[in-house]
């Protein structure tokens, strides 16, 4: 099972979500995606994205203004 890291810090909308769509396409079910973002609006986006794409949001944390999400590809 692979783990993929995406640095989307400093990207404004729609950068982070575009990166996520792109990388998720190359993942196999069960793979882990970790993405770091400084656009705070991403917090809401990632929850909605996971729900709609049937991927699992393992964790979502705000580390001093850096949003870090860990996602398990469904």
């Amino acid at each position: 099972m692979a783990e993929k890291f995406i640095n989307a810090r400093g990207m404004q909308c729609p950068g982070p979500i575009v990166q996520l769509f792109k990388e998720a396409q190359n993942c196999a079910p069960g793979d882990i995606l970790c993405i770091e973002v400084t656009d705070h609006g991403f917090k809401k986006d990632i929850a909605a994205w996971c729900k709609k794409t049937k991927n699992e949001l393992l964790s979502l944390e705000d580390d001093g203004g850096v949003i870090r999400a860990r996602i398990k590809k469904g």
Partner: protein, 554 residues
């Protein structure tokens, strides 16, 4: 002849401020403060946080004790005593000692009324049941806090969705209590415009606080043991083992009216700009007195701690009589509050007020980043700006978001107070470095968008008017990329990304009004310019974009 006697009735914010300032200006005064409360000089605005245990102990709320006033200023503070009658001819106040019941007399040369305001108790069945509380004094807040600590509360209803009611609701919710807010007006935060207040309602719903706006409480229902068990709205029966009444306050004016002091049109005590009432030698400050709105020059009543401290200080200087008299210039009704991570602020006239007053109103709703977008911790905040098209003067502003709203609202306060136009607002040399702001601050961006709108470069549709427009045949076109649209969209919209607009232009009907939407408004504006070049005439932008949209998205 002895020292000049200053008597002050009321000992929270305005009364103690007047006393302390007068003593500093003129240490020779004989100053006495009477209060019916057993606390003096407490942080009334801190009470919701005390209930929420953000502030742990009662003593943290107490700014100064009576003995501090004596030791620091030589001011005598008498607690648990209620002034019952003013005798202006004799320059005398009668007061009842609430512990002994005896009546005492206090002679004065100058009198200050700082009698404050009291919670409005709606005339409904069941308000005397147990566990129906108001939160105006420290004792009242302690009573609520004790109920929570004893784990006797699972469901709470807050009656009134003003600032205090919402702050109380947040704090109850933070303590794990299922909380419902019932507001009589069509939306919470009644002084705010609906487009802003409805966004806050949506946010509170996400935080699992139920808001029932446009809803009247009909009665309070006994749980069988003399305590409240439920709140009836007619349509619903809301389970509640605690009710907090926060349905506004009324000025305490009985004492003043009884001795011939005149009230103003708002029902609070009428004062001139030196805080003097119609009776020579009697002043009124704080929540019991009226103010003047700086923009309209009309009498207004804003019972706010910030205003109370200002008017108290002016009275203190004028009472001391040691220098030139000072005046209160007027107030804007500025407010700011925090609900969970959302910050909300307002100053000046709302759009609704400005229209009612006959101004030629223009508004914009503009989201922008409070700090450099790449700097960790930056947040989007939304600025609604209200200006007069004729004079171009800024009339008001409302700001919300998870970022800094207090700074931009204070910029607007300053600009409005000095009579600035939107052009002057746009040109302010505001501080910038990435951790603090953006090169063009949220205020400047909002001002620039407003200038574009005044110049006719675009027309906007407010979120409250969107449904009506769509029902009348308008197309809502979302110009974000497909991936953003997939994550969240406004129901009924279609998606044509900005970069594909040219090739897909045939999908748009030139006969219909086209409303463009993106995340904050920039791409919608670019799309509007493009469509206009392509000969489209009826094109506009959804103000505030998806970011400020106050209704459900999907």
């Amino acid at each position: 002849m002895g020292a000049k006697k200053i008597l002050i009735i009321g000992g929270v914010a305005a009364g103690t401020k007047a006393a302390a300032k007068a003593a500093r200006e003129n240490p020779g005064l004989d100053i006495v403060v009477l209060t019916r409360d057993s606390h003096v000089s407490y942080a009334g605005c801190g009470l919701p946080y005390y209930i929420g245990d953000v502030i742990k102990a009662e003593r943290e709320l107490l700014v100064r004790r009576p003995k501090d006033f004596k030791a620091d200023f030589g001011i005598e503070v008498i607690t648990d005593i209620e002034a019952t009658k003013i005798l202006p001819e004799e320059k005398m106040v009668l007061a009842k000692d609430l512990n002994t019941g005896e009546t005492r007399q206090f002679a004065y040369d100058k009198l200050v009324l700082a009698t404050g305001a009291s919670p409005f108790i709606p005339p409904l069945e069941g308000t005397t049941l147990g566990n129906i509380k108001t939160v105006r004094t420290v004792q009242e807040a302690t009573a609520v806090k004790n109920l929570l600590s004893e784990r006797k509360v699972q469901d709470a209803v807050v009656v009134g969705g003003g600032m205090i009611g919402l702050e109380v609701a947040e704090n109850l919710s933070q303590r794990g209590i299922k909380t419902t807010v019932v507001e009589l007006a069509p939306h919470i935060l009644p002084p705010y415009d609906a487009d802003i207040a409805l966004y806050v309602q949506k946010y509170l719903a996400e935080k699992e606080i139920t808001v029932l706006a446009g809803t009247a409480v009909k009665s309070f229902v006994d749980n069988g043991q003399g305590d409240v068990g439920a709140v009836s709205t007619g349509a619903d029966l809301l389970k509640a083992d605690l009710v907090v009444l926060s349905a506004g306050v009324r000025p305490n004016v009985e004492l003043a009216v009884d001795c011939g002091i005149l009230l103003g049109p708002t029902g609070a005590i009428a004062v001139n700009n030196k805080t003097e009432t119609n009776i020579n030698g009697i002043y009124a400050v704080g929540d019991c007195a009226e103010n003047v709105n700086l923009i309209t020059s009309q009498a207004v009543w804003y019972p706010m701690g910030s205003t109370a401290n200002k008017t108290g200080r002016v009275a203190g200087i004028n009472l001391a009589g040691t220098g030139a008299e000072v005046t209160v210039k007027g107030v804007l009704g500025t407010s700011v509050l925090k609900l969970f991570e959302l910050n909300i602020a307002k100053t000046g006239l709302s759009e609704r007020d400005a229209r009612a007053l006959g101004y030629n109103v223009e508004t914009v709703i503009v989201p922008a980043s409070d700090r450099a977008h790449y700097y960790p911790g930056s947040r989007t905040i939304v600025t609604k700006l209200i200006v007069d098209r004729d004079s171009r003067r800024v009339l008001g502003g409302q700001i919300f978001g998870e970022g800094a709203v207090d700074k931009p609202i204070d910029i607007l306060v300053t600009a409005i107070s000095l009579g600035a136009t939107v052009d002057q607002l746009s040109g302010l040399d505001l501080a910038y470095a990435p951790p603090f702001s953006t090169a063009l601050s949220t205020t400047a961006v909002a001002a620039n968008v407003m200038m574009n709108k005044l110049a006719g470069k675009f027309t906007g549709v407010g979120p409250l008017d969107l449904k009506e427009k769509m029902d009348a045949g308008a197309m809502l076109v979302d110009v974000r990329i497909d991936k953003e649209y997939f994550v969240r969209k406004i129901p009924g919209s279609i998606n044509i990304p900005l970069r594909r607009l040219q090739e897909r232009v045939d999908e748009l009907d030139r006969e219909r009004e086209i409303i463009l939407v993106c995340k904050v408004g920039l791409r919608a504006y670019l799309a509007l310019l493009k469509l206009k070049r392509l000969g489209f005439e009826k094109v506009s932008i959804l103000e505030g974009g998806i970011t400020a949209y106050p209704f459900e998205t999907e």
